[in-house]
Amino acid sequence: MLKYIVKRILSSILVLLGVVTITFFISRVLPSNPEVRWAGQRATEEQLEQARIELGLDKSLPEQYIIYLGDLLQGDLGKSLNNHQPVTEELARYVPATLELVILAFLFAIIIGIPLGIYSAKKKDKLLDHCSRIFSIGAVSLPTFWVALFLQLIFYKILNMLPIGGRLSVEATIFSDVPSITGMLLVDTLLTGQLDLFVDAFRHILLPCITISLYPIGLVSRMTRSALLEILGEDYITAGRSYGLSDTKMLWKYALKNSVGTTATDVALSMGYTLTNTFLVEAIFSWPGIGSYISNAVTTLDYNAIIGVTLFGAVCYIVLNLIADIFVASDPRVRL
């Protein structure tokens, strides 16, 4: 097992190196004027020359690459061309908001999706199964932006129950001492015991969270159902039943455990994907996460930021995939 994990980590490092290399060279060969972005649109020739030196653009491409890799090993992703802020600091500021949103959305997905899949499998071809399947298909196929706007209209405009966006209310932002420990407000407010702020933050995260969780709820539900149905048809389940074990016991104790592996892999991959693809939901709910940072970096060809975000996405994807694989590999039936 340990050998397997080490092997996977080493291959992951190679993948990351590949991602960095490809992104670095693509961003450098794209036609753009990073020095203009750095020094300002109306900079003089002297200012532009100074900018080229500061950005290392006066060096050859291989030299720039080696310097970048050296800096990267020290955790330095360079500075954003737009605001001259270190990309590492920018990521540290935006990532927790997205992480909090996505983790909660996937918790919702697991809490709602798995029971839905289980009951759907248990009541195969009954009314509950049909309803569950219609819901799952709807959840997977409804456009995110439509769901987001619909929820805003219902819960903010019509019912006036939940806020339309942001992470905290205006009053809390201005007058409260908002804690910043992990950057995840729900966690930080709990750690500091600020329950008022926790509720405020929870109210703000609900709508974007529901929007993001719809797809994984549908996915988890369908994956759980199909995996369970396959397992419920296997010989050991029939044997168990013939020994007089109840259907419920067979389902919860023997079938569900064996169906989790497939679902876990899909959830992990879906989560990795979602972490870097929340920009639409973040834009609609004014959620200051990595999504808005990505879209700004891409539209302005801020290449240090682009590489930083790409690297972040790749790390998330690889780590989550690794966790899922280790989880599956822990099953003694799986040969490594």
């Binding site: 794209l30 036609p31 753009s32 004027n33 990073p34 203009v36 020094a39 300002g40 649109q41 109306r42 900079a43 003089t44 002297e46 200012q47 737009n82 605001n83 001259h84 802020q85 600091e89 500021r93 935006y94 809490i111 709602i112 706007l149 805003q152 209209l153 819960f155 903010y156 405009k157 006036n160 129950m161 939940l162 339309i164 966006g165 942001g166 905290l168 209310s169 205006v170 009053e171 809390a172 932002t173 201005i174 007058f175 600020q194 008022d196 509720v199 405020d200 929870f202 109210r203 609900l206 834009a283 609609i284 709910f285 004014s286 200051p288 808005s292 700004n296 539209t299 302005t300 060809l301």
Partner: protein, 533 residues
């Protein structure tokens, strides 16, 4: 496990339902007075700043900086002149190379220190040394150009320019002209971006987090505070137009702008909740015609293009009245503007007439226009232009690009590889028409912004003459600029498409929202007050 799952689900549902109830206090302080707790909430569609460094910020940050920092002078759109702000008066020698500014003696920075001439000198020196953003406005003061800035008294600053420069206008710039405390002179951009400041303005920065800025009243501001003013201001990016609209409708925010046509039309109907305020800006959209290559090197062909552009349709249908057709290069309201300058209208008969005069066979012509792809309004206007040109048999390719790429192509060393037409927005960094003429129309050895690639000695002479007269003979300078604009229009070197207007939608509960065209996007929150019941 089943029971545990049911319990977790039930608890989660109860908590969600509880959270859906209307929020109570949100942890606000109970001890502060009602005036202290009042919040002015302004939502924007873009981030409220790129950086908060008063020396280098050259973008949206003007929304914040205009309320936190002050400049020596300030442009007054009603008089068209600059008014005193941190300076009380100023004078220059005959040729505008030496300027003496007298300063107020009652100004304190947010750190409590008093403003003196040395801090003014240090602020401007910092900006010049950093050399970023709008710092180029101080070129005449650079030592390498023979200029210098010095404190010649406790409250007197003398600026010596290497060549004549309108320092009274330059010191009023919305970027790179802010005065800051000595305690922040050595600080980095990162430090400012953390929400620190060192200004003299009515507000200090209480929080800054990328999409949100919170401003808090500087209690010792020399103008004082009244109960109907707002001591807390929050500027937050809310990218979705429909979300900003709903926030105005529910009364959650009080100021917003940049709405989609549908949302703006709906808000205009809701007069019991909000009202709209429209302001002229000095931003104008221009189209450069590549005068160096075929077929735009033919004056009559350029005139044909000028008559084929859908000016009125762009202003009315695409921009819904949020603009007005330009007359000349200089927007209305700024000195150097004249309504007498020739302007084209969309007239397809005249376009056909000039096309014939040009002798250009349209079937052999395929033009390319480049524009910044993120501006949908450019694409919409250009699509109509494309359809109009098709009626003349001219093929036009629309190429939406990122600014960097658009500009890189325009500067290509091979003229044949450059675009035929180039659309972009221009605005002055301080209220002086020189910006349009020197940068966009004057001949230059290395192409920077002269993107019609002009080399017209008559035009150059007029521009040089106007610049030399700006300080000593403003009327003469104005006459030269008007004559220069007439030449540009008659030769269709550049098509002046439209001047932008900004529309704010404002809650009926407040008044005093205004935008000064010299400081586009910025609202002076100090002037915003509640409407008496």
């Amino acid at each position: 496990m089943k029971k545990l799952l049911s319990l977790v689900l039930a608890l989660a549902m109860v908590f969600c339902l509880a959270a859906c109830g209307e929020s109570s206090g949100d942890g606000t302080t109970a001890s502060a007075s009602p005036a202290d707790n009042k919040i002015l909430y302004h939502t924007t569609n873009t981030e409220p700043y790129i950086t908060l460094d008063p020396s280098t910020e050259y973008s949206n940050g003007i929304m914040v900086l205009q309320n936190v920092y002050e400049t020596l002078t300030r442009y007054n759109p009603e008089t068209g002149e600059v008014d005193p702000l941190l300076a009380t008066e100023w004078s220059s020698n005959d040729d505008g190379t030496v300027w003496v500014f007298q300063l107020r003696d009652d100004v304190t920075f947010h750190d409590g220190t008093q403003m003196t001439s040395q801090q003014v000198v240090n602020s401007i020196t910092r900006t010049m040394e950093l050399g970023q953003g709008g710092a180029y406005i101080w070129d005449a003061v650079l030592e390498s150009n023979g200029g210098k800035i010095e404190a010649t008294g406790d409250y007197e600053v003398t600026i010596t320019c290497g060549y004549p420069a309108a320092m009274d206008l330059i010191t009023s710039a919305g970027y790179a002209a802010y005065i800051m405390s000595d305690s922040v002179i050595e600080q980095t951009t990162e430090w400012f971006n953390e929400g620190n400041d060192g200004g003299t303005g009515p507000y200090t920065i209480a929080q800054a987090s990328g999409d949100t800025v919170v401003l808090r009243a500087y209690e010792d501001y020399r103008g004082g505070w009244t109960d109907d003013q707002y001591k807390n201001v929050m500027i937050r990016q809310v990218p979705e137009s429909s979300a900003r609209r709903q926030m105005l409708e529910t009364g959650e925010c009080q100021i917003s702008g940049d709405f989609s046509a549908t949302d703006l039309a709906a808000l205009k109907e809701e007069t019991d909740i909000v009202y709209t305020e429209q302001f002229e800006t000095f931003n104008n959209i221009v189209m450069f015609l590549n005068t160096q290559t075929y077929p735009c090197n033919n004056a009559d062909f350029r005139r044909a293009l000028a008559y084929a552009f859908p000016y009125e349709e762009t202003v009315t249908s695409i921009l819904n009245g949020n603009a007005q057709q330009s007359v000349g290069m200089v927007p209305e309201g700024l000195w150097g503007h004249s309504d007498e300058i020739m302007q084209y209208t969309c007239d397809m008969d005249k376009a056909a007439e000039y096309l014939e005069l040009s002798g250009v066979d349209p079937s052999t012509v395929s033009l390319t226009v480049t524009y910044i792809s993120s501006y949908d309004e450019y694409a919409s206007a250009l699509q109509i232009f494309q359809a109009n040109l098709r009626q003349l048999g001219i093929d036009l390719e629309l190429r939406g690009m990122e600014w960097d790429q658009q500009w890189a192509q325009a500067q290509n060393t091979n003229p044949e590889d450059r675009q035929d037409l180039f659309v972009f927005i221009w605005w002055p960094d301080y209220p002086d028409p020189v910006s349009w003429f020197q940068s966009l129309l004057h001949s230059e050895d290395n192409i920077v912004y002269n993107l019609s690639y002009l080399n017209d000695p008559e035009l150059d002479a007029l521009i040089d003459s106007a610049i030399s007269k700006t300080v000593t003979d403003r009327e003469g300078a104005e006459a030269d600029y008007i004559a220069a604009q007439q030449i540009v229009a008659e030769n269709a070197y550049v098509l002046n498409l439209y001047d932008q207007m900004h529309t704010f939608v404002v809650s009926n509960t407040i008044q005093g929202v205004a935008e000064n065209p010299a400081y586009s996007q910025a609202i002076q929150y100090y002037n915003v007050t509640t409407v008496a019941e």
